[in-house]
Each structure stands twice: as structure tokens, then as C-alpha cells.
């Protein structure tokens, strides 16, 4: 019982804090909570500033004409039609190459390999390194393999293939998550009906995992759209309308970079392009989130 007395007597022991009428602990609590709210406030303001800046400066230059006109005077005037076409081509090549590989690897990892086995840990570790690799390093690799060794030169094809390597780990992860969210009972039902694994996979698992797979494609698309450094030395910078996949062309990200850094007076158009890019990415992200929620709701129900 003299213990509680001792605790009470200690409450008053901190003089500095007691001067302003606080216990020692309360002072720290107050500082901590202030730091939490302060950080959030700072961060929110900076990001609001950043997004507001892109929105306000971008919106004045965006119009329908901007989207369908050719690039004129290094981008100072005209629009971004060829840039959008090149972007679409590169992203399409990247997804077309990466998707089947990603899906196949994801099926093997999620359905066939034991989750904690050595093989699957090694494979996953290699994907982690791939996911963390600087994009400029992908650019150098793409330049050495696709541009030079395979002789594709600076082309949409080289750029797309390089991006395919880059988005692979992200797509695989989304596909694996999608497959793992399929309730166990689906697989057991397949086994119980004596279906072969192939037909269980084809007729039961893949349709059930479809939202996850689509989310993976969208995620890969987002990554590819945002990428710049890996394309500088693979797809090149040309502003012409591409006529085939072997033509060089620039994506919208490179266009923004080039206008901002290398073209005097290109800021206005850089912001307009940035706005288009940001809106595209927000749309993609929203779709991914919706699909994610959908998957989660279903796996909770099961």
C-alpha cells in the first residue's frame, strides 16, 4: 500500500513539466501527438501543392486539339497525338509480352510450388531484386540486348520489351495474390469431381481469379506509363507519328521530361502532358482499388 504512495509522490517529481502543469509523461504525449498531426499537415499541404500545381497549370493547356494534333516546334505548340500513339504501342507490347509470362509464373508459384519451399523462396527473392532494380539499369540492359544484340535499334519494340521485363515482378505479385484469394473449396471441388488439374485451372481457378489478373494487368500498365528512364536508350525520343513497331517514338513521360529539361518555354505543355498522365494513372489506380475490394469481399464471404 505504500507503493501507491510512492507512485503518487513521483508524479510531482519532474519540475520542468510541473511548471506548466503537466506530468512528465503528459508533456511527451503532447509533443508526440503534435508531431503526428504536424507531419500529416505538412505532408498533406505539400502534396496538395504538387497536385494543385499540376492541375492548375495543366488544365489551361489541355483541349481536344491538344490530344489529336501532332507535336510542333519540339512540343512548344501543337499537341501530343503521336506521343499518345507511341505510348499506347509501347505499353501494348510490354503487356502482351509480360502478361503470359507473368500469368504462367504466378500459376506455378501459387498453385504448384509449396509456399515456404526453397525453390519458391529463391524465385520470390529474384522477383524482389527485379522489382527493386533501378529503371535506368533496365534501360542499359535493354539497350545492350534489344537495341544492339538483337538489332531492333531505337524502336517501340525495344522499349516495349524492356518495359515488359520491368513490369513482370509487379504483375506476377498481383496474379499470385489473385490466385491465392480463390477459396480453397474451389480446388477441392475440382479434385472431388476428378477433373484434371489443367481443366480445374482453366474452368474454375482462372475465371475465379480474373479480377486479380485484371488488377495485375492494370498495375503493369500503370508502371509502364509512369516509366521514363528505362526508355531513354531503348525507344528513343522521336516525336513523329510511328508507322511500325520498328520506328522510334517517345512516351508521354519522356515527352514531359524533354519539354521540362531541354525545351525552353516548354513548361506549359509539359504540365498539360503531366495532367493527362496523372489523370490516366488515377483512373487505373481507382480501378485496381475497386478490384482489390471486390477480391477481399469475396474471400471474406468464402
Amino acid at each position: 500500500m505504500n507503493l501507491s504512495f510512492r507512485i503518487n509522490s513521483n508524479i510531482d517529481s519532474n519540475r520542468v513539466a510541473s511548471l506548466i502543469g503537466l506530468r512528465n509523461g503528459q508533456l511527451w504525449d503532447l509533443l508526440f501527438s503534435a508531431a503526428v498531426w504536424g507531419s500529416v499537415l505538412i505532408v498533406a499541404m505539400v502534396f496538395l501543392w504538387l497536385v494543385g500545381d499540376v492541375l492548375i497549370r495543366g488544365v489551361s493547356a489541355v483541349s481536344w486539339d491538344f490530344l489529336v494534333s501532332p507535336v510542333i516546334d519540339s512540343g512548344r505548340s501543337g499537341g501530343i497525338a503521336p506521343v499518345l500513339v507511341s505510348t499506347a504501342c509501347i505499353v501494348a507490347v510490354a503487356l502482351a509480352v509480360a502478361f503470359p509470362l507473368a500469368l504462367a509464373s504466378a500459376i506455378l508459384i501459387a498453385e504448384f510450388l509449396p509456399r515456404t519451399g526453397t525453390v519458391s523462396r529463391l524465385v520470390v527473392a529474384s522477383f524482389d531484386v527485379l522489382a527493386g532494380m533501378p529503371s535506368i539499369v533496365f534501360g542499359l540492359f535493354g539497350n545492350a540486348l534489344f537495341n544492339q544484340l538483337l538489332g531492333f535499334g531505337y524502336s517501340l519494340l525495344s522499349g516495349g520489351l524492356t518495359l515488359a521485363c520491368m513490369v513482370l515482378p509487379f504483375m506476377i505479385k498481383a496474379n499470385v495474390d489473385g490466385l491465392r484469394a480463390v477459396p480453397r473449396s474451389y480446388r477441392e471441388a475440382g479434385d472431388a469431381l476428378a477433373m484434371s488439374r489443367t481443366s480445374t485451372l482453366w474452368h474454375v481457378l482462372l475465371p475465379a481469379a480474373l479480377p486479380g489478373i485484371i488488377a495485375g494487368v492494370l498495375l503493369g500498365m500503370g508502371r509502364a506509363l509512369a516509366e521514363t528512364a528505362a526508355l531513354l536508350f531503348t525507344s528513343g525520343y522521336v516525336t513523329r507519328m510511328p508507322e511500325s513497331l520498328m520506328d522510334s517514338g517517345r512516351t508521354i513521360s519522356i515527352h514531359i521530361y524533354d519539354l521540362a529539361m531541354n525545351v525552353a518555354g516548354g513548361d506549359r505543355m509539359a504540365y498539360a502532358s503531366a495532367l493527362i498522365l496523372v489523370v490516366l494513372l488515377i483512373l487505373i489506380n481507382t480501378a485496381v482499388v475497386r478490384l482489390g475490394d471486390w477480391i477481399q469481399r469475396r474471400s471474406l464471404r468464402a
Binding site: 509464373s105 535506368i136 519522356i254 514531359i256
Partner: protein
């Protein structure tokens, strides 16, 4: 029969994807090898400067710049990110939580050129008004910290969300205030997630090219203070690759190998942290 065919197809695809990292490393090495045979490795740190066309290959200033940028960005972003994650888990009123999380996910997916554009057009002039020339180590650190902030926040927040609820119940029953609980129980309990978030953020910071190149001024020199312009390893590759030939090209591939090994190291540290966490 079809099952076996399927397994083989899947196996082949996975093998291809899993060996991609080895293929990439092999290509980078192959491009560097010619130069490594001719030029001693030590010269990358002892040559009198970086003028690769005159075969002087000192990349030390760029390594220093990259490391400073990474460290600075982590120091600025990590506390902000940890506090924000705590806010979203313990302080935010419930309608804010979902919106906040989504905004942070969108920010994580924002392209680096957009951060770079904002840095170049808005931030650099502000810094220049304070200390010339504006495009500097400082600008690089600030832009990078914005970029890695969402990454760290997401990792720490998922750590907080996965923390067993009974730690919170126990703290509440022990009459702890919210702030004391977070400081003394919650943050120590999720220290593995914090470490993982920081290594991921650091990997992203050291690998970033575009945003850094747009705001740091790109002058090859060891910076004397925060307001000196610097050139990162990544920017150096992006700036010179277009016209590099012979040994110059080799030197750029060697710096990319260096970058790759730093990132592999960070990923390994991250794996180690995560697997250690699983053991407890």
C-alpha cells in the same frame, strides 16, 4: 497427359522469368568486361576526375552524391511517413482513413517525371531565391523524400494493421495514454516493418533517375554543403549514355553494376528483416 504438358510450360516460363535477373546481370557484366580488363578497378576511385573521353574515370563524387541523396531522403521522409502511418491507424477519424490510404497509394504510383517537373519548376526557384543556384543536393533530397514517403508509409501502415490487437487492449487496460502506447508499445512492436519500409524507400531513392536528374544540377563534384549541385550515379548514366563509346560506355555499365549490387544488398537486408520477424 495435359497436366504434365501444363506443368512443363509453366515451369519453363517461370524459369525464364526467375533467371531474368541473372540474364540482366550477365549482359551488364558483358558490356563492362572489356573495360575491366583494360582499366584497374581502383582507378574508379583514385583517378583525378571524371572525364571519360580522356580516360579519367573517378566515379567517387557520384557515389558520394547518390549516398547523400539517399540518406537525406530517408532522414526527411522516414519520420514523416511513420507519423502519417500512425495517424492513419490511431488518430484519424474514420472517414479520413480510407481516403488517406487511397491518396497515398495514388502518390506511390505517380510518375517520377511529375515529381521532377514540380521540383524543377516550383521547388528549385524557391531554393534559388534563398541560396544560389537552386538546383542542388537539397532540391534532390526534398523531391526524393516526397517520392519515397508513400512507399515507407504503405509498408509501415500494413505493419501496424497486421499488429495483434491484443497489444492495444493490454495497453489500454494498463491505463496508458494513446501517445504513450504508440511510442512505447506499438512502434517497438512493428520495428521490423519500419526497417523494411526504410530499406525499400532507400532502394527506391538510390535507383531514382529522372526526378533527381531534373533538380540536382548534375555537376560532378563532392558537395561542400546542402546547396551545392551534385550528379547522382543514375543521372550520370542517363546524361552520358546517348554519346558514350568504348571505355566510356563500359564505365557507365560498371556504374550500373554498382547500382544493381547496392539494390541487391538492400533487398537482402529486407529479406533478412522479414524472415527474422517471422521467427518471433
Amino acid at each position: 497427359m495435359t497436366d504434365r504438358l501444363l506443368t512443363w510450360t509453366l515451369g519453363a516460363a517461370t524459369l525464364m522469368v526467375a533467371s531474368l535477373i541473372a540474364i540482366i546481370a550477365a549482359f551488364l557484366l558483358n558490356e563492362s568486361l572489356g573495360m575491366l580488363n583494360r582499366v584497374e578497378l581502383g582507378r574508379f576511385f583514385t583517378d583525378s576526375g571524371w572525364s571519360p573521353t580522356m580516360s579519367r574515370f573517378n566515379i567517387l563524387p557520384m557515389i558520394v552524391a547518390s549516398v547523400l541523396l539517399m540518406a537525406g531522403a530517408v532522414i526527411v521522409a522516414a519520420p514523416l511517413a511513420i507519423f502519417t502511418a500512425v495517424f492513419l491507424r490511431f488518430y484519424a477519424p474514420s472517414p479520413v482513413i480510407d481516403i488517406g490510404r487511397r491518396i497515398i497509394e495514388v502518390l506511390a504510383a505517380m510518375p517520377s517525371v511529375v515529381y521532377g517537373l514540380w521540383g524543377l519548376v516550383v521547388l528549385v526557384p524557391i531554393i534559388a531565391a534563398w541560396q544560389q543556384p537552386g538546383a542542388s543536393l537539397m532540391a534532390g533530397i526534398l523531391v526524393l523524400s516526397l517520392m519515397i514517403f508513400p512507399t515507407i508509409t504503405i509498408v509501415v501502415h500494413s505493419g501496424l494493421a497486421a499488429m495483434p490487437r491484443h497489444y492495444i487492449e493490454a495497453s489500454q487496460a494498463l491505463a496508458m495514454s494513446r501517445a504513450y502506447m504508440v511510442r512505447q508499445v506499438v512502434l517497438p512492436a512493428v520495428r521490423a516493418s519500419i526497417a523494411a519500409g526504410i530499406t525499400l524507400g532507400a532502394a527506391r531513392a538510390i535507383g531514382e533517375t529522372m526526378a533527381v536528374m531534373m533538380v540536382t544540377g548534375n555537376i560532378v563534384a563532392v558537395p561542400g554543403d546542402l546547396f551545392d549541385p551534385v550528379r547522382a550515379l543514375t543521372s550520370n548514366i542517363a546524361l552520358e549514355m546517348a554519346y558514350a563509346l568504348g571505355d566510356h560506355r563500359g564505365a557507365l555499365y560498371i556504374s550500373s553494376l554498382l547500382l544493381l549490387s547496392i539494390v541487391i544488398l538492400l533487398v537482402l537486408i529486407n529479406e533478412f528483416i522479414v524472415s527474422n520477424k517471422l521467427e518471433h
